[in-house]
Amino acid sequence: MAEWEAVVGLEVHVHLKTRTKMFCRCALEYGAHENTRTCPVCLAFPGALPVPNAKAIEHTIKLGLALECEIAEHAVFARKNYFYPDLPKGYQISQYEKPLCGRGRFLLPTAGGDEEIGIERAHLEEDAAKTVHAGGETGRTIGAEYSLVDFNRGGTPLLEIVSRPDIRSADQALRYLRLLRQTIVELGISDAEMEKGTMRADVNVSVRERGENGFRPRWELKNMNSFTFIGRGIEAAVRQQVAAYEAGKTLEQSTYDYDPDLDRLTVHRSKEEADDYRYFPEPDLVPVDPPRELVERLRGELPKLPAARIRRIAKELSVAAADELVSTGNDHKAQLLAERGVDWQTAANVAMNEPDFLDANAAAIAAIVKARDTLTREAYDGAFAAARSVSIDAAEYLAQIAVSDTGELDPVIESILAANPQQVETYRGGKEGVLGFFVGQVMKETGGKADPKVVNELLREKLKA
C-alpha cells in the first residue's frame, strides 16, 4: 500500500483594525445596528468613488514585513467581478497581479528546527456585506424564504494571506494558523477572532504519494471559521481522497463544504461551475507606490515576533511548551515571573493558568508563587483574584501560612477517612483519582488553610495502610 502525504495551502482572511472602512469613511463598529454604517460609496450608489484607507495599506505592509515578503514598489488594485446580493457594486475591489506583498516565508519553530512555510502573497481587499437567510426550516440558503443583507460589514478592509502548498498535516496547519494569528494580533493590525468572524480561512487540500513530484487536483474548503473544523476538515479531505485514489478513481478540482455533524466533505461546486471573475485593474484608483521611507518606518515599528520568542523560550522549556505559551500570548507574563526568580516551568504553568495579573504585580505574584507550598489555597487564589485589577501587597498574602503541622492535620484526616469508608475502599481498589475527593474534604474542613502538599502526603500514607 502506498504511503500518502497531505499537501495543504491556506488562504487566511483577517479584518484589519482600522477606524473606517477600506474605501469610504463609514465607521467600523462590530455589533452596530444593521445598515446604519453605510454611505453612497459602500452601497454602490451611482457616481460614488472609492478612496483607499491609508492605515489599511500600512497594516498590510507591516504584515508583509513580519512575513519577510517582498513589498511591492507598485501595487495595483483590481476588480473581481461577480454577481451576488452581498456585493452591491457587482465587483469586489481586490488585488490580483500586483499585490502589496509578494513572496515571503513564515517559520514554525519545532524541536527538530524551524519548519518553513512559504508565503505566496498577501493582498488587501474589501469584505462583502453579510447575508442572513431568514425563514424556512433549515436556516440555510436552500429553503430560506428570503435573505437579508447587512451592509455594515460591506467594505471592511480585509487582508488575505496566501501560503504556498508547503503544509503537510492537519497538525502543522493548526500550528501555522495559531502562530500566524498571534503574530497578526501582536502587530496590532487585527483582532483575528474566528468566533467574531474577523478571521476566516480557505483551505486547499490534496494528497500525493510520498516522493511524488507535482500536485494532484485540490479540494477547496471555503470560509472555515474554527480551528477545530479546519483540522478535522483537512483530515476528512485526506481520508476521502486517499480512499478514492486507492479505489482507482481520479479526482478533479472542486469546492467542498465540511459537515461537522457527519465529519465528511460534500461537494459544493465543481471546476466547470467555477466563477470567471473577469479581473482587470481598478480604473477608479491609482496604483499604490509605498514610499521607501514609509516601509522603513514600519519596519522599525515591528515588535519582537512570536517565532523569535519561541526559539528563545525553548532554551528554558520544550519547544512545544514554548509554542503554546507564545501562541496564546502568555509568554510575556511567564517572562515577568521568570525574571523575578520563578523557575521557568512554574512560571509557564502560572502564566498559562492565571495570565490575568497586572504587570505591576509581577514582583508580588513571583514572591507568592515561590512561597505557594506554604500558603493557604485561599491566600494564593485571593492574591491572583486581586492582582487582576489592583496593585497588591505580597506581605499581606504571605502572612497566611498554610497548616502543615501533621499533629494538627492528623485528627482531621482520620475523621474524614472514617466517615467515608466506601471511597477509601475505592482508592484501595486502585482508583487513585479519589485522592482529590479526600483533599477537597480536608480543605473544606480546615477552611482552606491546610497545606495541600502535606495533606496529599498524609493521605497517601494513611490510605496505604
Binding site: V51, P85, R278, F280
Partner: protein, 295 residues
C-alpha cells in the same frame, strides 16, 4: 472641451468607462469655457485619480506668435472626411498662420488606426463592470419577477437600451478567462503606444489640429441600424481620449449649412494653450453660432 483626464473630479458622475470618463465644460465662447473649467478643475479628495492643475489663464487677444501647430495627416486626409469639413478646417488653419502660428505636418499613424478598436475593448469592458450595480435592488427601476434572478433579468432588460446591452456583452466577453490577454490586456498595451506616439509629436508642436468629426451632423436616427458607421463618427476624437489628453472643439465654419468643428489637442494639462488658440480663432473667424434661418 474634454479636459486632461484627472483634472476634473468624476465624483457624482454615473460611471460608464472609468478610465476614459471625463467631465468637460460646454459654453458659448472659449472664454466662458475656460472660466467654467477654472471652477470645476483641481484635486478632489473624493476622486483619487484627480490631480492638481496649473492656474487657469482666461484667454485674451488674438496674437498666436510662437505657437507651433501640428497637422497630423492621418487625421486631416482620411477618406471619410467630407470635403466641406476639410475645407472649413483648412481655412481655420490658414487663419491661425495669419495670426502668427507656425504650421507643420506630423503623423499619428498607429493612434488613428488602432485608437478605435482599442476604445471598443476598453470602454465596453469597464462599462460591463460599472453597469453591474443597476440590479433593481437598492435604487432605480425595478421590474418584479418570480424570484430574485428573474427580477434582476427583467429589470436590466427593461432598463438598458440596445447600445448599453451591446457593450455589456462585448465587455464581458473581452474580460473573460482566456480572452483577457488577447483583448483587454492587448488594448492596454496599445493605449501606452498611443500615448507615446502623441508624446513624440508634442516634442515638436504645442498642439495638433484636425476636424472634430469627419462629417457634419447626420439626421437623427440615420445610423441607428448600423452601429459601426455610428462608431466611426468618433474616429478623430478617440485617439487623444485614449491617451488622456485634452481636446477643445471650436466651431469654424459651415458645410452644407451645418457647423463644422475644429479640434485642438494638446499634451496633458495644456488647457491654457488650447484656450488661447481657440479664443484667437473664435475671435478672428467670426463664426456665428446662430443658424442663418434663425437670424
Amino acid at each position: 472641451m474634454r479636459p486632461t483626464y484627472g483634472t476634473v473630479s468624476r465624483y457624482g458622475v454615473v460611471a460608464f468607462a472609468s478610465s476614459l470618463d471625463q467631465v468637460g465644460p460646454v459654453a458659448r465662447t472659449v472664454r466662458d469655457c475656460a472660466f467654467l473649467y477654472s471652477v470645476i478643475s483641481g484635486k478632489d479628495p473624493c476622486d483619487s485619480t484627480t490631480v492638481d492643475v496649473p492656474p487657469v489663464e482666461l484667454p485674451d487677444g488674438i496674437d498666436l506668435k510662437g505657437v507651433r501647430i501640428g497637422v497630423p495627416k492621418e487625421m486631416n486626409e482620411t477618406e471619410g472626411i467630407e470635403p466641406g469639413v476639410a475645407a472649413a478646417v483648412q481655412a481655420a488653419l490658414a487663419k491661425a498662420e495669419e495670426l502668427g502660428a507656425e504650421l507643420g505636418e506630423c503623423s499619428l499613424p498607429r493612434s488613428v488606426e488602432y485608437g478605435m478598436p482599442c476604445y471598443y475593448l476598453v470602454a465596453p469592458a469597464e462599462a460591463s463592470s460599472n453597469l453591474a450595480r443597476y440590479d433593481g435592488v437598492r435604487y432605480g427601476l425595478r421590474v418584479e419577477g418570480r424570484d430574485r434572478l428573474e427580477m434582476y433579468e427583467k429589470t436590466r432588460d427593461a432598463g438598458f437600451g440596445d447600445e448599453p446591452k451591446r457593450r455589456i456583452m462585448l465587455g464581458t466577453y473581452a474580460l473573460s478567462a482566456g480572452y483577457y490577454e488577447a483583448y483587454y490586456g492587448q488594448a492596454q498595451k496599445v493605449r501606452t503606444l498611443i500615448k507615446r506616439e502623441h508624446d513624440e509629436v508634442f516634442e515638436r508642436f504645442d498642439l495638433i489640429a484636425s476636424p472634430t468629426s469627419p462629417t457634419v451632423a447626420f439626421a437623427l436616427g440615420a445610423k441607428t441600424a448600423d452601429p459601426i458607421a455610428m462608431y466611426l463618427s468618433d474616429v478623430l476624437t478617440i485617439p487623444s481620449c485614449m491617451a488622456g489628453l485634452p481636446g477643445l472643439n471650436v466651431p469654424c465654419g459651415l458645410s452644407e449649412g451645418l457647423p463644422v468643428g475644429l479640434q485642438l489637442i494638446g499634451p496633458q494639462r495644456s488647457e491654457n494653450v488650447l484656450f488661447r488658440v481657440g479664443h484667437a480663432l473664435e475671435q478672428s473667424l467670426g463664426f456665428d453660432p446662430v443658424p442663418e434661418r434663425l437670424r
